[in-house]
């Protein structure tokens, strides 16, 4: 009988869910020196990420050397990290202090009300971090709950031996594609951001008028009524493209000589060059037809056990010197706008001139779904 009562209680509690937050000191309204003081009294920082371990682990050691606060870096699977945060969101205290967040996960975290903040204005030098990324990440508005840690940009990776003069405008690109069928690769947009970036570029170059989507938080069906033209164009030209399985698969196809050009992230390209999985002569550029870029962020779960230490670690990661190291090790561009990185594959001038913003989240989600159903599954 007791066992049965216990089981019923357990199942009922499971179904209730919802966040149960422990009472916490109000670090968001505390002077920064008090936050630092409180951080030094906390047991450590547990940081969940999904890549870049060589940088995060070294940064963790440097942080511990400076503040005496140990950092534990867990390199998990990107989706599993978010799954864990959401699974723990009903507990008074979770196990994660700082979370590395990619654009795809922003909506899940906001919907689950799983974040602590907003952090804009709390982290010192907030005003020196990319203001766009501090408000919107890959089309999803996060209202300053997520702190930019690096920027990245999609470009076109190419083999200069095969393509001495890569195309710039949309007209030049389509002419090149006609002359070199199968020699351009981009990944299935449901499997990675560089493919999403290319589909958006096709969409905006065919339809124009990117301003009409700006600021929308819900999809306006009237604004997507003409998107059928884009799917028709892609279907008609599908045989001229090589569609790959992931961001890195596209880079690999260039390395293997299967294609001459591919849509690729700048930091993925840097890592491939450093690891010996891409020939050293490879080049990356942002064509004048435009490609979107953005960046990734750091957040603190609402039930993080060591929030003061988490704030201090994020502050450390956004310091100018740490940002320069990040740029040197990972190749991702700095989130700070007041310091330049020396290891960027793409010059800042090209980023400013040809880099474009992502469409708002609901439109981005829609074009990914539509590409899969209207092009891949046709």
């Amino acid at each position: 009988m007791q066992r049965r009562t216990f089981l019923i209680a357990a199942v009922t509690a499971l179904s209730i869910g919802g966040p149960v937050l422990a009472a916490d000191a109000d670090y968001l309204s505390m002077p920064w020196d008090k936050v630092v003081e409180a951080a030094k009294g906390q047991s450590g920082v547990t940081f969940y990420t999904w890549w870049g371990e060589e940088f995060w682990r070294d940064a963790g050691k440097d942080f511990e050397a400076r503040y005496g606060i140990p950092v534990r870096v867990i390199v998990g699977d990107r989706a599993a990290n978010i799954g864990k945060v959401v699974a723990e969101s009903s507990q008074a205290q979770g196990t994660i202090d700082v979370l590395h967040v990619g654009g795809v996960e922003v909506k899940s975290l906001l919907d689950a009300k799983a974040l602590y903040g907003p952090l804009k204005g709390i982290i010192p030098d907030s005003d020196k971090l990319d203001p766009k990324l501090f408000a919107i990440q890959e089309g999803f508005a996060h209202k300053g709950y997520l702190v930019p840690v690096y920027r990245n940009q999609v470009g076109i990776l190419y083999d200069p031996q095969k393509v001495p003069n890569p195309p710039q405008s949309w007209a030049e690109f389509t002419a090149w594609l006609d002359a070199n069928p199968g020699q351009f690769a981009f990944n299935d947009p449901s499997k990675g951001g560089s493919g999403q970036a290319f589909v958006q570029t096709v969409l905006l170059n065919i339809l124009g008028n990117p301003e009409k989507y700006a600021g929308d938080t819900e999809m306006d069906k009237a604004k997507v009524a003409d998107w059928g033209q884009v799917w028709s164009w892609l279907n008609a030209n599908e045989s001229k493209f090589t569609i790959t399985a992931s961001n890195n698969d596209s880079i690999d196809r260039v390395n293997q000589g299967e294609v001459a050009m591919a849509a690729a992230w700048d930091d993925d390209t840097s890592i491939a060059l450093a690891k010996g999985t891409l020939f050293k002569r490879a080049k990356l550029y942002i064509p004048s037809m435009g490609l979107p870029g953005g960046g990734d962020t750091l957040g603190i779960p609402a039930n993080a056990p060591n929030k003061a230490a988490a704030l201090l670690f994020i502050s450390y990661l956004t310091e100018a010197e740490t940002q320069k190291k990040l740029n040197a090790v990972l190749g991702s561009y700095l989130a700070r706008t007041d310091v330049a990185g020396e290891s960027a594959l793409l010059p800042e001038e090209q980023r400013q001139k040809n880099g474009v913003a992502w469409l708002p989240g609901p439109y981005k989600k829609y074009y990914i779904e539509q590409f899969v159903s209207q092009v891949l599954q046709q």
């Binding site: 547990t46 999904w50 534990r72 998990g76 699977d77 989706a79 799954g83 864990k84 993925d268 999985t277």
Partner: protein, 286 residues
Amino acid sequence: MTALALPRPAAGLPRLSLGVFLTALAAILLLLWTGVPLLMAVLWSLVDPDKPWSYPDFLPPSLSLAQWKYVFTYSSIGRAVATSFTIAPLATLLAFVLSLPTAYALGRYRFAGKETLKLLILLPIVMPGMVIALFLSRAFDMLGLSQSLFGLVLGHTLLGMPFMLRILATAFEAIPQDLIDAARNLGAGWPALVRRVLVPMVLPGLFAGAIFTFIASLEEFNLTFVIGTPTFETIPTVLFGYLGYHFVRTNAAVVSIILMVPSIVLLFIAERYLKTEYLSSAFGKL
């Protein structure tokens, strides 16, 4: 004129029959199917970062252990191996103890709903791992089992039990009733029956179930990640990051080899042991 006669094959030498040819062909294809990816993984794990392996090079232009050094430097693989090899044997033992009565009932008795129960047992294998992990984690949290070694052993046991249960049940089911009756007619009581008949007959099944449960535990990611990390890291929680969204071929090659080795060794042991035991069972060594 003397007719030329082809020499006849010496008696006792095997002639190349279609069966032998097809077997050899299958063996070669199997070797290529499993051997080539393994060879490629080994080669990619040895690529020198300063001298990329690119088209048109057939082989890496230079070999280096830099990729191995990288994985061992920037992951907690050593600690994870120790944790995995602590949890897996404990989970296997617990799965055996918990499965034994149910497996015996499923194998030796007839009762209503038996087939449905057999199907239900397989549910944890059929459902997506993360879905199970998310729901189980809530129960584990409430019971205070998250972030504990006992909780992880219990979780791995639950996920490994379908293998142990089904295989053990089949092993019990396969024991001929005649053997049990004969043992009883010869005066064997329950202890002798268990020791001389049941245990030797189910031993191959038990061994197979143990191997599957052990490997399932070694490769379990989702539940361990949700309820075990950051306190405990196992081989998959440390290594799956290298195989996911930011897949880098060289690191992934190193990781794949590390993940593959324990499974291959265990399967070879199982294959060798199972063959012997099945033969002894089949040919009446009992």
